[in-house]
Structure formats: structure tokens, C-alpha cells
């Protein structure tokens, strides 16, 4: 139960049940679709920019608790960020969930996203945690085709 509680922390469960920014941004300049063909998770990320910073970011889709919570918490942590900030945050998040950094260390700047440290113990779930992020990056680079975890 220990590892499970670590993975399914209260805040993750809360975001998976009540995802924030779960909406479409009409006519968003940047949007992309992401798909994990292994589990069927699908996400669409919408982004609007203003003066080189993320003005608004939202998502829609259906997925597991980890992917939904990750998408929800991602949208909360990105408003006002520059492209460089966003890339840096993704890098730190990726290092965290893939276990490149140990929990408790190197999590500065991750804020609430540090709760995803539990994913380290479940390598098969890394793709769930990063799907929304990969989709966000695709949206920002105006990727036309749906991106896939595979």
C-alpha cells in the first residue's frame, strides 16, 4: 500500500477527479492532440501566448488518474511562463518521474508537481505522466499530426 499511496497521493486523486482547466480554448493559436496507443489515453492541449508568455493553457481528453492529474497540474503551473521556463520545467519534471533525480533533491522549482515523484517506482506509468507535456510541446511547435507516446 505504501508505494500506491505514494503514487496516488491525495492531490493527484483530487486533480484526476476534478481536473482544472478542463476546457477548450476556442480558436487557440496553439493546440495539439496526444495519444497513448498502449492504454488508449487521449489528450488535446490548447495554448494561447501573449508577449512570449503563456497566457492561457487548457486541456481536454480521457485518461487514467496519472495522465489526467498530470495534465491538470501542468496547466496550473504554466500560466505566465516563457518558452524557456516551460522547457526547463518539463526537463525537471521528466527527470523527476523517470528517476534521474531522487525524491527530495533537485525538485526545486517544481512546486506542486513534485508529488509525481511516486511515478519513479512505476516505470510503465511514466508515459501517462508525460503525455500532456509532450502534447504541450507539440502544440507550441505547431505540430499538425497527433503525437504518440509510441
Amino acid at each position: 500500500m505504501e508505494g500506491l499511496r505514494e503514487l496516488y497521493q491525495e492531490v493527484i486523486l483530487d486533480h484526476s477527479k476534478k481536473p482544472r482547466n478542463f476546457r477548450e480554448i476556442e480558436n487557440a493559436a496553439h493546440h495539439a492532440k496526444g495519444h497513448n496507443p498502449l492504454c488508449g489515453d487521449r489528450v488535446t492541449v490548447f495554448v494561447t501566448l501573449k508577449d512570449g508568455r503563456i497566457e492561457d493553457v487548457s486541456f481536454q481528453g480521457a485518461g487514467c488518474a496519472i495522465s489526467t492529474a498530470s495534465a491538470s497540474m501542468m496547466t496550473e503551473s504554466l500560466k505566465g511562463k516563457t518558452m524557456a521556463d516551460t522547457e526547463a520545467l518539463f526537463g525537471r519534471f521528466h527527470d523527476l518521474v523517470t528517476g534521474k533525480v531522487q525524491r527530495g533533491e533537485g525538485t526545486e522549482g517544481l512546486g506542486k508537481l513534485a508529488v509525481f515523484a511516486g511515478v519513479q517506482e512505476f516505470p510503465i506509468r511514466v508515459k501517462c505522466a508525460t503525455l500532456a507535456w509532450h502534447t504541450l510541446r507539440a502544440a507550441l511547435s505547431n505540430h499538425q499530426e497527433a503525437i504518440s507516446t509510441e
Binding site: L4, Y8, G40, D41, G63, F122, C128
Partner: protein, 425 residues
């Protein structure tokens, strides 16, 4: 080539008395992997529709062949080549008898059920299907019985038609019958659905198709491990299945085809073993079944499949079917009592597959939490996305049972699902 007679290689069928007893605890002793622990807990393996575990007899047969008798088949005059050939062809005779085919010429060894379907699509299909023709499949097919036909139809300018299913996950026979038209060149369908467990009334369907001169291919991958198959009684034209789902090694499968159809088909792949003579002007193809077995085959794993058949014969398919049905009833009852759990696939005729969704919890999360207790289930779309679309769900969790599963394991599954509910409450 000299193939040993059936009697010396295959042995007699088990006696009826033996078939009546079913001692699951003794059967479990035959499967070494069932003794292992996952995170300190006993393995509860409920992912048999994806692949089954192997009895020691199968593992030993492969080791023995490599340790004692291995050489290439159908070639050398030397002792080992003859012994390997005898073992390999002996397995073909076992398969022939196991599905009651008329002749060993009708048993083609391939890599798996997927390759068997592809073989038929690329040979029979390519010759028989023309522009404007139709190939009929069903909503419940595994991707491996969809995509080969889609590719064929695209190439030929033909149309893929799909027979619908009802809310229980059963084929709607009236609709299927209507779709069998003058342009239908082939009907390809699952004998048993991997995602839903539905056992299709294939005898009736084959009769329906044959009345309109439409040949039928059955994807038997999910049927063969659970019930006795008699291809002649079914009068099926092609029957495809995999070794790895029936307690044999992976990498081997079987295509059964009626001899007349196989004779008329062009070769699939070309190379060694499938020819009888080659010059730069003209190649004469080998006779059946070798025409469809180009190159050195998967000798040891075919021998392993033969041993898996011996193993199943030793228990008896009727006894296995009856025991699994008891497990299915028990599991269906137990899962139905869990609040928020919905079974997907409730056909009246069903194999031991329990596909389900849990309210408010994604199947992937169900799978991760069950795995913590050593319970292996499959989560996802089960390579049957059209089935998921039909039920309007992205995925299910699926417990698929086999002859070595027990009611106690189903109790552990139920306890595990309650734990999932607790985590997500």
C-alpha cells in the same frame, strides 16, 4: 521424405475416465512460473487471453530437442536431421488430430494466428478478391483480423463490411446474414472474442455463409485453449490459432486450410523448403504443406506446441471447458456484486473472460493497483479498438482465465478491486 506414422509419434487418445477428473492443484504443479512471487505475494496470473504460461513438459521438450536431437529438418541424411524432422512432423500430426483435420497437408506452421490471417489475405485474398468485391468481418475482431483485410481491400478497390454486435457483445445474426451478399468473397471472424469472451455460433454462421458460397476464416486464437475444435465438423475453410495462448511456446501458430483451397492458392513467402525444383527459368513449388513453409521453420517451438497438445489431451478439453465455465460463473457472480463495476461482454455463450470497467477509475489505474498484489490483468483496448468504440469506453480491465486458475484467485481479484475502490474513494 519419410514421416513416421501417426501411431508411433502421437500415441493413443487419453481414456475417458481420465478426462472426468480435474485436479486444479495438481495442474498448478505442472507450471513452474505459478510458484513464483511478485513483490512477495503469490502470482495470480489472469492474463491468459494475452498469453498463457507453459507447463514444465513444454519447457523440457524444447530443452531436450536442443540438447539431444537438434538439426535442420527435411534435409540431411544424418541421424539428427532425421530425428528433428520426425519430431517436427510428429507435431504436425498431433495438430491434425487435435483439430480433427482430414490431412496433415492441411496444417501449415506459421508464426502465430496473425501470420495465419495475413497468409490467407495475401494468397487466397489476392487471387479471389477483386475491385468492387466485399470482405465481411465483425465488430468484435482483434486488430489482426481487421487490418490484413483492410490492406487487401485498399489494394484491390474492394470494400470491408462489418457485422454489428448487440449490447451483450453478441453478433446480430440477422444483420450478418444481410451483409452476406453476392459480392462477399470471404467472411473472417473470431471464434471467441478476446475482449468480450463471446463464443460465436460459428456452426450456424458457417452454414449461412456456405449457402451463399462464401468461404469462412475463423480466428481461433481464443478458442483453442478452452474447447475441443473439430474443423471438419464445423466445415470451416480456414482456421487460425497461436501456440502461445494454448500453453505452447510463442513464435508458432497454425493455419488450417481445406486442401482444395490451399492447393489453389499461390505461395506466401518463397525460398528454401517451399520448392521442389529451381532453375533460373522455372521453379516448381513443393507440395502441401511445404509450399507455405519457406525457410527453416521454428523447429523447437513447433515441437513444444506438440507437447502442449499432449498436455491438453492428457487433461481433456471437455474437462477443461467445464472447469473454466465453473470459474466463469463464480467470477461473474463475484464481480457483479462489486458496486460501480460493470462487466463488458455478457454474452449468453461465453469463454472465461471477465472484461470490466469500474466507475470513476480508469482501467490503467486498476491494473497498477492489482499488480501491487501480484495480480496480473490486462488493461487497455485489447487490440480491439472498434469493440471499445461500440461500448463507448476507452478501455477495460480484463481478467482472462485458464485451466490453472482457481476460485481462491478470483477471491483475491475481488479483494484487489475493493482495494482499488478504497484508494480512489
Amino acid at each position: 521424405m519419410n514421416v513416421s506414422g501417426e501411431s508411433s509419434v502421437v500415441g493413443a487418445r487419453p481414456s475417458p475416465a481420465k478426462k472426468l477428473s480435474f485436479d486444479v492443484l495438481r495442474i498448478r504443479q505442472d507450471f513452474p512460473i505459478l510458484k513464483r512471487k511478485i513483490r512477495g505475494k503469490p502470482l495470480v496470473y489472469l492474463d491468459n487471453a494475452a498469453s498463457s504460461q507453459k507447463p514444465k513438459a513444454v519447457i523440457d521438450a524444447i530443452t531436450r530437442l536442443y540438447s539431444e536431437d537438434y538439426a535442420n529438418v527435411h534435409r540431411g541424411v544424418h541421424e539428427l536431421s532425421q530425428r528433428s524432422t520426425e519430431a517436427y512432423e510428429g507435431a504436425r500430426l498431433k495438430v491434425r488430430r487435435f483439430i480433427n483435420a482430414g490431412s496433415e497437408r492441411e496444417i501449415i506452421f506459421v508464426r502465430g494466428a496473425t501470420e495465419a490471417v495475413n497468409l490467407v489475405a495475401q494468397t487466397h485474398g489476392r487471387v479471389q478478391v477483386r475491385a468492387g468485391d466485399e470482405v465481411l468481418i465483425t465488430t468484435m475482431e482483434h486488430h489482426s483480423n481487421i487490418v490484413p483485410w483492410q490492406i487487401l481491400c485498399e489494394e484491390k478497390g474492394a470494400h470491408l463490411r462489418v457485422a454489428p454486435i448487440n449490447d451483450r457483445g453478441e453478433l446480430i445474426l440477422d444483420e450478418l446474414e444481410k451483409l452476406l451478399g453476392p459480392k462477399t468473397r470471404l467472411l473472417a471472424l473470431a471464434h471467441v472474442s478476446n475482449a468480450l469472451g463471446t463464443i460465436n455460433p460459428v456452426r450456424e454462421i458457417i452454414r449461412m455463409a456456405h449457402q451463399r458460397d462464401v468461404p469462412v476464416l475463423l480466428d481461433g486464437a481464443q478458442a483453442v485453449p478452452h474447447m475441443a475444435i473439430d474443423v471438419r465438423e464445423l466445415d470451416v475453410d480456414f482456421y487460425a490459432f497461436s501456440s502461445h495462448k494454448m500453453f505452447g511456446p510463442s513464435g508458432v501458430g497454425v493455419l488450417y486450410g481445406k486442401e482444395a483451397l490451399l492447393e489453389a492458392m499461390p505461395p506466401y513467402q518463397s525460398g528454401g523448403d517451399m520448392i521442389s525444383s529451381v532453375s533460373f527459368e522455372k521453379t516448381t513449388y513443393n507440395r502441401l504443406p511445404y509450399k507455405f513453409e519457406a525457410g527453416t521453420p521454428n523447429i523447437a517451438d513447433v515441437v513444444g506446441l506438440g507437447t502442449a497438445i499432449d498436455y491438453l489431451d492428457g487433461i481433456g478439453m471437455e474437462a477443461i471447458g467445464a472447469y473454466e465455465h465453473e470459474l466463469l460463473d463464480y467470477g461473474t457472480q463475484a464481480l457483479s456484486e462489486i458496486p460501480g463495476l460493470e462487466l463488458v461482454g455478457t454474452a449468453r455463450e461465453k469463454a472465461a473472460v471477465l472484461s470490466f470497467t469500474l466507475e470513476g477509475v480508469h482501467p490503467h489505474d486498476v491494473g497498477t493497483i492489482l499488480d501491487q498484489d501480484g495480480i496480473a490483468v490486462r488493461t487497455g483496448h485489447h487490440c480491439a479498438q472498434p469493440v471499445m468504440d461500440r461500448f463507448g469506453i476507452p478501455a477495460t480491465a480484463r481478467a482472462s482465465l485458464a485451466l490453472y486458475n482457481t476460485k481462491a484467485e478470483l477471491d483475491l481479484l475481488v479483494a484487489g478491486i475493493h482495494k482499488v475502490i478504497e484508494v480512489f474513494r
